[in-house]
């Protein structure tokens, strides 16, 4: 989309394909069909444009003349893309660990990039401070009701695209923006009973720690390579609404996530980041099967399974190879 093609009420995201995956379905018992929701086909490379696009528009409507955001990568690309389309200047604060590919994409979309500090939380602190100045709006990557409302549009698409109500939805959790969006969508559709398997990697598993402690727990440091899941805490609202839904928190290792990225590249010809690899590990590493055996997912085979391929720009053939070497995972 170009800025002159954009119409005021039109969403900035696309309706993405829901593709039946024969290869992944084979990992689910019975004749259960598994579908992948291809958020990698969004214009900014990940699902984030759904929420970020919506919030950016709202901030401009409310009179902001400039937007600031903080991101470890994909939210920054979404912020830059959205700002370009709705024609508002944008600065994205990123930590030093941000992949050069993401920094390039943010700049290619016309936004300024400021590399600050060693962690996402430092970048977020600086961006929020900057937004205290008049006329500047903070484009939160995951912690805002408009973000969750935007992300929830994925569920409306699934209702139309699926042959029947899903038995299970699988996704990854960073700050919880995607999960909150899915939950808001489930509520709207009257599907609150649909189990959502929320995947993280060790070293980026703040949601899992919070669920176990029954309160918000902040990770000291992100030690996983899945930087796109690298929020130190989840949005507090997620813990508030958890009891109204059926969320199952699971954690896999970086090695499992990388192995899943490689398998997926061969099965579906899409390169994904390790954060998305965590989602796919639910299938490839037997997490869903284990949950069924344990009685946590008793209805797994009674309807289609949906895996949200969240997308992400920080992946390439050489990164995949490098991760495979680092984690002793065979690269074909």
């Amino acid at each position: 989309m170009n800025s002159h093609d954009y119409e005021e009420n039109e969403p900035l995201h696309f309706v993405t394909p829901l593709k039946y995956s024969k290869a992944l379905s084979e990992f689910i018992p019975g004749a259960t069909e598994l579908y992948i929701k291809l958020e990698n086909c969004q214009p900014s490379g990940s699902y984030k444009i759904r929420g970020v696009g919506r919030l950016a528009r709202k901030l401009k409507e409310r009179g902001c003349q400039q937007l600031v955001s903080a991101s470890g990568g994909n939210a920054g690309v979404a912020a830059a893309y959205a700002s370009r389309i709705i024609d508002i200047p944008c600065t994205v604060y990123v930590p030093q660990s941000t992949e050069p590919a993401c920094i390039k994409l943010i700049k290619d979309n016309g936004a300024q990039v400021k590399i600050v500090g060693s962690s996402y939380s430092m970048a977020e602190e600086i961006a929020i401070k900057e937004a205290e100045n008049p006329g500047i709006g903070f484009l939160s990557p995951y912690n805002h009701a408009e973000i969750w409302a935007g992300n929830s549009t994925m569920m409306d698409e699934l209702k139309v695209q699926l042959p029947s109500k899903p038995s299970t939805i699988v996704l990854s959790v960073g700050g919880g923006g995607l999960l909150l969006g899915v939950l808001k969508g489930l509520e709207r559709l009257g599907w609150q009973d649909v189990p959502v398997v929320a995947m993280e990697t060790f070293g980026a598993h703040c949601f899992n720690l919070s669920v176990k402690a029954k309160k918000i727990v902040a990770l000291e440091k992100i030690t996983s390579i899945a930087k796109c899941l690298g929020a130190r805490t989840v949005a507090p609202h997620l813990l508030e609404i958890l009891p109204h839904f059926n969320i199952i928190s699971e954690v896999v290792t970086d090695a499992q996530a990388v192995r899943s990225c490689i398998k997926f590249a061969d099965d579906e010809h899409i390169l994904v980041e390790p954060g998305c690899g965590a989602t796919l590990s639910a299938v490839y590493c037997g997490v869903l099967e284990k949950l069924q055996t344990e009685g946590v997912l008793p209805h797994l085979t009674m309807g289609p399974v949906v895996v949200i391929v969240c997308g992400g720009n920080s992946v390439s053939l050489s990164l995949l190879k490098e991760w495979a070497e680092n984690f002793n995972v065979p690269f074909p």
Binding site: M1, F14, V15, P17, L38, P43, H269, V272, V315, L317
Partner: protein, 332 residues
């Protein structure tokens, strides 16, 4: 989709049209470069458009058993379509097909018979079988296939705000190209240049254009076997003069280099036949054509590359081909 729904709704989906910042860098004079992502299509390539449409029509006419000859994506499209509409299907493969092709077809519900030294011989056996069993033999040159393929242009009309400056498509037997031309006619876009890409060793269209008459390739010597037809369909030859088709050829090395670059740029892995389309950008074909005055609107209107998709590729194969053609893997 239920068997009843599949009688009415098309079996293919509307695929994303994504703006590519990465490819635009190789075509700086171009207004925008868009990718029509047929790799996201049901069955993994654009072929579901035409063969899905044909299978639906054949079922409506009372067909109860389908037979087809294919070494790859056509077979997959027919197998997937047959499963959706609930009719059994047998795919005849030539003996020189990779083993994985037969396995993939079987996993998609087709009966597979491997017989015949090449596609022509396999087709003979397939036609005999169809006669024997009262099955319908799928003719890839059935005009309904081109009608189905032409829907790709209907989507471009909806998705673009501007008439394209050029459309790039790979050519095997010319089915996709014929469909694109029919779509251009319907849209009133007959003057849009279509750059028809082939590889050396599958370049039957180029030979025909050079000789000014239909010319048969002696032998398929390219690795892009998905483009491996020895002759284009005669109907395409008849209608060619009514359009602005520019025939271009690249080497296997250029196609492979483009596949590898595309995997890094757009996180999508494609077959060498599709690499040929991408080589139009990566290897300067469109730049040269623009300099020659053949793409007069490149600077003011968007370019569209049809990413035709295809399942016969993997990380392992990409690396093998990279070694074979002395191409860096990953791309530098």
């Amino acid at each position: 989709m239920s068997s009843k729904d599949s009688d009415e709704r098309p079996l293919h989906i509307v695929t994303p049209l994504l703006r590519s910042v990465a490819l635009a860098k190789h075509l700086p004079m171009c207004k925008n470069v868009y990718l029509k992502m047929e790799n996201c299509q049901v069955s993994g390539s654009f072929k579901m458009r035409g063969f899905g449409h044909l299978c639906q029509k054949l079922k409506q006419e009372g067909c109860q058993y389908l037979v087809v000859t294919s070494s790859g994506n056509t077979g997959l499209a027919v197998a997937s379509a047959s499963q959706i509409i609930g009719i059994p299907c047998t795919v005849f493969l030539p003996e020189n097909s990779p083993l994985v092709s037969a396995e993939r077809l079987q996993k998609n519900g087709a009966q597979v018979v491997v017989k015949g030294a090449d596609v022509t011989a396999a087709a003979m056996f397939a036609q005999e079988e169809a006669k024997k069993c009262g099955a319908l033999y799928i003719d890839p040159m059935d005009p309904r296939v081109w009608t189905g393929h032409s829907t790709v242009v209907d989507e471009l009309v909806m998705q673009l705000s501007d008439k394209p400056s050029v459309i790039v498509a790979a050519v095997g037997d010319g089915g996709l190209l014929t469909g694109v031309l029919k779509g251009l006619e319907r849209a009133g876009w007959q003057d849009v240049p279509v750059v028809a890409m082939e590889t050396v060793g599958t370049h039957c269209l180029n030979l025909s254009v050079t000789a000014k008459k239909i010319t048969v390739l002696d032998k398929i010597t390219s690795i892009a076997i998905c483009l491996g037809s020895s002759v284009i369909n005669p109907y395409l030859w008849d209608i060619l003069p009514q359009f602005n088709v520019i025939s271009e050829v690249v080497t296997d090395a250029q196609a492979i280099r483009s596949c590898i670059k595309f995997a890094d740029d757009e996180c999508t892995i494609v077959e060498p036949g599709c690499g040929a389309s991408l080589a139009s950008v990566y290897c300067g074909v469109l730049t040269r054509l623009h300099a020659e005055g053949k793409l007069p609107h490149l600077e003011s209107r968007p370019a569209v590359i049809i990413v035709c998709g295809g399942r016969s590729v993997s990380l392992h194969l990409l690396q093998d081909w990279a070694k074979q053609f002395n191409v860096p893997f990953p791309s530098t």
